[in-house]
């Protein structure tokens, strides 16, 4: 939570409160959505931007969300807002010579991150490419479905959020609902996003996904260990994306992302770019590495490499 101290000044807060009171009076005349308790509806309507909340305000919001989710999914749901670990900048390596295109990462990610099952939202898209054509996206097969992978003459390239150092998606957001955290993870405040989808137009990697419908997440499949900026349940009409499993990697001791953990061939590597001893640094310094769409100057922290 950067800028927590430099939040709004009292005058600013006063004017907001006044304004909101007026707005509340107007909107009060309108019908409230049924089912939900009116108090929490208003609280979520007037909820501030994540980075503008003071610590007590944030704690109140987290408690409200935990209560709401726990009731909805009938289990004890934790919503944390663990801040970035100092001195860490996350980097990801993907070994194209190893990936077999089994899509286990796709489904491990779904299990971990609570995206909608109906309609399906996948943070990882595995592309099947021809060895003769190389990395040619126009030639990519997105929906390959043979009984056995890898198929002869093909190689596989998983694409997910590249957590750019120079992210085009955050720049375009009209309400600052998405930003890059100090540890390099690009996050979305699902309670602030207005759903204009400008960030989806701006992303060169197809990494952003929209909740076109109220997310279908069965209670039994809901992962109760969540982060406010990560895998907590999403409302309809907002954008979401891969956060390098922010709910796992920021913990102490941290945990690998779900996709790294599941990969059966060890094609996925993850670590701290600021640590000279890390595996990801070794790969960047010693292997043949490339980044996708380098010419766009997005400076991804997602490195494709060939180990063999």
């Amino acid at each position: 939570m950067p800028n927590q101290e430099s939040r709004d000044n009292p005058a600013f807060r006063m004017s907001r409160r006044k304004m909101m009171k007026g707005a509340a009076a107007v909107l009060g005349a309108l019908a409230l959505p049924e089912r939900e308790a009116p108090a929490s509806v208003w609280e979520s309507f007037f909820q501030k931007h994540f980075r503008e909340m003071s610590k007590p305000e944030l704690e109140k919001v987290l408690a409200r969300l935990e209560k709401e989710y726990s009731e909805k999914y009938r289990k004890a749901v934790k919503v944390r807002a663990t801040p970035p670990v100092e001195g860490v900048l996350y980097g990801y390596g993907l070994d194209l010579s190893r990936c077999i295109g089994c899509r286990r990462c796709v489904y491990a990610c779904v299990q971990e991150n609570n995206p909608s099952r109906d309609p399906q939202i996948h943070y990882i898209r595995v592309l099947q490419l021809n060895k003769e054509r190389g990395v040619d996206l126009e030639d990519a097969e997105h929906y390959y479905n043979p009984s056995k992978v890898p198929e002869k003459g093909h190689f596989y390239m998983p694409v997910q959020c590249h957590q750019c150092e120079n992210p085009p998606c955050t720049k375009v957001c009209p309400v600052q609902a998405t930003w890059k955290e100090r540890d390099g993870i690009v996050v979305v405040d699902y309670n602030w996003c207005i759903g204009c989808r400008y960030c989806m137009a701006a992303c060169p990697y197809g990494a952003r996904h929209f909740n076109w419908k109220k997310p279908g997440l069965p209670a039994a499949e809901m992962n109760p260990e969540t982060h406010y900026l990560g895998n907590r349940p999403r409302p309809v009409g907002v954008v979401e994306k891969c956060t390098y499993c922010i709910q796992r990697v920021r913990n102490t001791p941290g945990r690998y992302t779900a996709c790294v953990e599941i990969c059966p061939v060890g094609a996925r590597k993850f670590g701290n770019l600021l640590d000279p001893e890390s595996e990801i640094r070794y790969i960047i310094e010693n292997k043949r590495v490339f980044i996708l769409k380098e010419d766009l100057n997005t400076r991804p922290k997602f490195y494709y490499f060939y180990a063999t």
């Binding site: 304004m19 592309l127 997105h142 375009v172 602030w192 204009c196 989806m200 990697y205 197809g206 929209f210």
Partner: protein, 430 residues
Amino acid sequence: MPMKMIWGFFKGTLTLVAKGSRAYYAWVSCLLVLIGIGVLAYIYQMENGLIVTAMRDQVSWGFYISNFTFLVGVAAAAVLLVIPAYVYHWKPIKEIAVLGEMLAVSAMVMCLLFVTVDIGRPDRFWHLIPKVGLLNFPQSMLAWDVVVLNIYLVLNLTISVFILYNLYHKREPNKAFTTPLLLFSIPAAVSIHTVTAFLYNGLAARPFWNASILAPRFLASAFCSGPAFMIILFQVIRKYTRIEIRNEAIFKVAELIAYSMFINLFLLGAEVFKEYYSGTVHLAPLQYLLQGLKGHSDLVPYIWTAMIFNVSAFFLFLVPQTRENYVTLNIGCVLVFIGVYIEKGMGLVIPGQVPDTLGEIYEYAPTGIELLVTLGIWATGLLVYTLLLRVAVPILTGEFFVGEDGRTAVIVDTEFIRRADHLAEQSYRD
């Protein structure tokens, strides 16, 4: 005292818009029905989410944003009238420039509605209000667009209401107030188009939009579609109301369309040449638009229709004989309006996203719900314009003015839409 005068004017306008001929009532009811249908469709969309549209992650902007983009262009109609009227003091247009400003107001209302129905969380609109929410200004081009569109709306509304209010009081509008605003409305009109073009232009991820020629093309085509609409409208207005609009004003506007269309076609040609001759991977979206790509060719018949329409209209407006013949002139106007609607709407928005950034092709075509909501918004725009005209026309013809006491409004025109041949027989007595 001024408060009472303004209140009198306001009350008068309310009485005025409620009065009219049978044709007026029929037209307004028809629009209200369409608006009602649009509202129902929108409620359905709100309850089910944007899944009821054909938009998906691959093509995340569709018909709504296409209409929005086109209508930003239509709003330019105003400035094409303001320049000859107030910069060159060309009298025939000066008398009717206010009609163009009101068209800009209506187009802006439609633009804002199209953005509203497109966003996933309209309940969070207040996040866009500076100081209350967190408008990402000046970083986000969408934030710029919110600012300039609202300025343009308020500007045109202020100018037209101020002019009409003064004419209602039978006095010349104060030039010290109107002239700076009118002059400012020229760069403001340019700014709404430029900013809307930059909204697309700034995205390096979308090569089809990421071309510097986009903003100039936007301006050129904007100066075609809006004025084409105005020309038809001028004829309707002078036929059914007492307003007189001279032929030379209409022909001058048509001539300006010819020049704008030439520039538009030239810039388009430059773009097509560059993409096809260099033949890089960035050619794919243009191929999808003009020829179809890998068996996907939904847009191809539309864009060629637009091309044929635009080129034909260019020649119709270029040749004085066809420009000054009302049959060919009106055909030209319809061709331009449809041609630009396709080219600046779906023809611009969709190919930017097909193929998508990872090479996938998703063919987008709007659903019934999208069509109904869109219809509702167009009806809303037409209703806004009709009501504005309902007040403006009698003021301009001197049939709605302030009474002797300086407060109560006098309404002479109780019909508004009436046949031209009846006009001569009508007297001012009723």
